[in-house]
Amino acid sequence: MEKIIEEALSGHVGETGGLITGLRHVQERCGFVPRDTVRIAADLFNISQAEVRGVISFYADFRDEKPGENHIRLCVAEACQSVGSRQIERELTDKYSIAMGETSASGEVTIEPVFCLGLCSCAPAAEVNGKLISRASAKRITNEVGG
């Protein structure tokens, strides 16, 4: 793991905004940002561990634990609210018995809120395992998880 983190980060030292790009690559490789990243990044970028931790905690994209097998991101912003995203949120959290931002006990599903996917003209919008869905419903989303 240590080697993977180092590899993902090292190419971005000295780059503009390199720490953020590096952390994204760590997450792409590991599925999340492991705790050891703080120490390794601090050494590589020659900054304090506090600064690295500060960056990781500031940005919503960075996760500190592995997500479920299926990753649902449901848009919860105004345009999606206007066509029923709150109802979809209720249906999904009921179905998987979790709150937004959590992973189901079986590890099958993680549901996260997202503030706008830029699909506001054909809302509600969601993203399941990287696939964009417009005119979403709880059924369409769970079908995507199943398939």
Partner: protein
């Protein structure tokens, strides 16, 4: 036999509605019929309710079909798609569609028409005209053209672009930067995404011209991570631009250098605020900086930096190609040019409508947008994103104009319009404004960080009918404090949706017993 060309959008909205699956099916069905087909992936025309909208060219005219589902592909080919055959989904000549006819597409003229990654398509359809004019002119006249055009920042604040350009140009430094704010996080906005996916060279050209104008040689596009398709298209376009010397050590033989990089953010709404964006681009937490110093003088790494929204920069090539006066001839008052209105939320014909300032909200919502998607009575529009005002039916006659909107305590913002039907509860929407602010505040200043949470609490008490009148007064007081005391627009404008909702929809804030009695 020449290949049959078929145009299918790669735009996120089209893809989210099944454009990739339709493209795949067309390739399969065509092969099985022995037809040679070239599928061109384009941007979107902006008629999103018709997506996936596919087009073919017949006698020099583009005929559209939409929305097309995967299952309809075989039938479409059977009716002679490539001859413009009649089908249930045909909309006829795309440019003659009523939604297209009334637009004034200065910025989006190529979007949905050309192949976004074809440099030949770009140059063959007016691309580079602005840059060539800029290269032929001196720095002073480039900035003068922007000033004459009356262009104001399209990111929401509407600050006169010419003043920014002037300031950066006048600053002396060994390095200056052009930073494009592509952190389009406002709900109800997607114009930046559409143009980046559909005509990326336009943004690149605009940034190069800006570089020539203010003396900057390095540019960054700060793109939000929620836009992976835009990231892919932009990065590919930058490579093509380098091959064609639109970017590099010597831009189109001008002797001037301009280099451009896409930087992808990591999920923080606040990074759409320019100083927070600069902190983030430096690899740090996106904490807002106090102004002054202005980014125009001390921006990225402390150097003079021109920070502009995507559409501000995309307006630049047209202005340079046609002149500042020609641009200023569009619009009204001090709202010059066109704005790409985004029709969103509970609306029947959602999409992008570019036209001059001065168009009324009513026309946008009802004439072009077709009213609510649900078919239920209209209740409210929110204009300009999560920090924008909620306006009622009675104000739909207002024209989209910076000054007129300001008189009604509202803003044009980015031109995003989110429609709500009569089922919307404006008290819930007002509470959400605080919830969103609490979630997305950078935390640097107290009025925003603490005010947002206090706002949620007070709203909950009002909703529960607890000391209703006293809490309404407290809420007003809190809003005033956030407006006056916040460091940036996040805390400073969060009260706008709240106070506008209270003002225009007082029934939704009435004590609970009164609301229940009314139901």
């Amino acid at each position: 036999m020449s290949k049959n060309r078929i145009f299918i959008p790669l735009d996120s909205a089209a893809v989210a509605l099944g454009a990739d699956e339709v493209a795949e099916r067309i390739a399969i069905e065509a092969t099985s019929r022995g037809l040679e087909v070239a599928i061109v992936r384009t941007g979107s025309r902006g008629m999103h309710w018709l997506e996936p909208l596919i087009e073919v060219e017949v006698d020099g005219k583009r005929i559209g079909y939409g929305p097309v589902s995967e299952d309809e592909v075989a039938g479409l080919l059977d009716t002679g798609l490539f001859e413009g055959g009649d089908h249930d989904t045909t909309i006829g000549v795309v440019e003659e569609h009523p939604f297209m006819l009334d637009q004034q597409r200065l910025i989006f003229s190529r979007c949905g028409v050309t192949d976004p990654l074809s440099f030949d398509d770009y140059v063959g359809n007016g691309g580079l005209d602005g840059l060539k004019a800029a290269i032929a002119a001196d720095e002073r006249s480039i900035v003068d053209a922007i000033k004459t055009s009356g262009l104001r920042g399209r990111g929401g604040a509407g600050f006169p672009a010419g003043i920014k350009w002037d300031t950066v140009q006048g600053a002396t430094a060994d390095q200056k930067y052009i930073v494009c704010n592509a952190d389009e996080g406002d709900s109800g906005t997607f114009a930046d995404r559409m143009i980046m996916e559909g005509d990326p060279f336009l943004l690149i050209e605009g940034m190069v011209i800006a570089g020539l104008g203010v003396g900057a040689t390095k540019g960054y596009i700060y793109l939000r991570s929620e836009y992976p398709i835009a990231a892919r298209v932009l990065n590919e376009a930058i490579e093509v631009a380098k091959e064609n010397r639109l970017l590099g050590d010597e831009v189109l033989g001008s002797g001037k250098a301009f280099d451009l990089t896409v930087f992808v953010g990591a999920g923080a709404y606040i990074c759409g605020e320019e100083t927070s964006l600069l902190e983030s681009l430096e690899g740090k937490r996106g904490l807002v900086r106090a102004k002054p110093p202005l980014p125009a003088l001390e921006g990225l790494f402390g150097k003079p930096t021109l920070v502009h929204n995507v559409l501000s920069l995309c307006s630049v090539p047209w202005i340079l190609a046609n002149g500042g006066e020609a641009y200023a001839a569009y619009g009204q008052g001090s709202s010059k040019g066109t704005l790409s209105f985004q029709l969103a939320g509970n609306i029947k014909q959602g999409g992008l409508f570019e036209t001059a300032f001065g168009v009324t909200l009513d026309d946008l919502v009802n004439k072009y947008g077709g009213g609510t998607l649900s078919g239920r009575p209209f209740k409210a529009v929110q204009i300009g994103g999560p920090l924008g005002a909620y306006l009622p039916q009675e104000l739909l006659h207002l024209p989209m104009d910076y000054e007129v909107m300001a008189q009604h305590c509202a803003g044009v913002g980015h031109g995003g319009i989110v429609v709500f039907d009569d089922q919307a509860d404006l008290m819930a929407q007002a509470r959400y404004a605080f919830e969103f602010c609490a979630e997305e505040s950078c935390g640097k200043c107290t009025p925003c960080r603490v005010g947002a949470v206090r706002g949620e609490e007070v709203m909950d008490k009002i909703a529960a009918g607890e000391n209703h009148d006293e809490n309404m007064v407290l809420l007003e007081d809190l809003c005033e404090l956030m407006v006056d005391g916040s460091l940036c627009a996040m805390g400073g404008m969060t009260p706008i949706p709240v106070t506008s909702a209270i003002k225009h929809f007082p029934d939704d804030f009435a004590p609970r017993h009164a609301r229940e009695a009314a139901e």
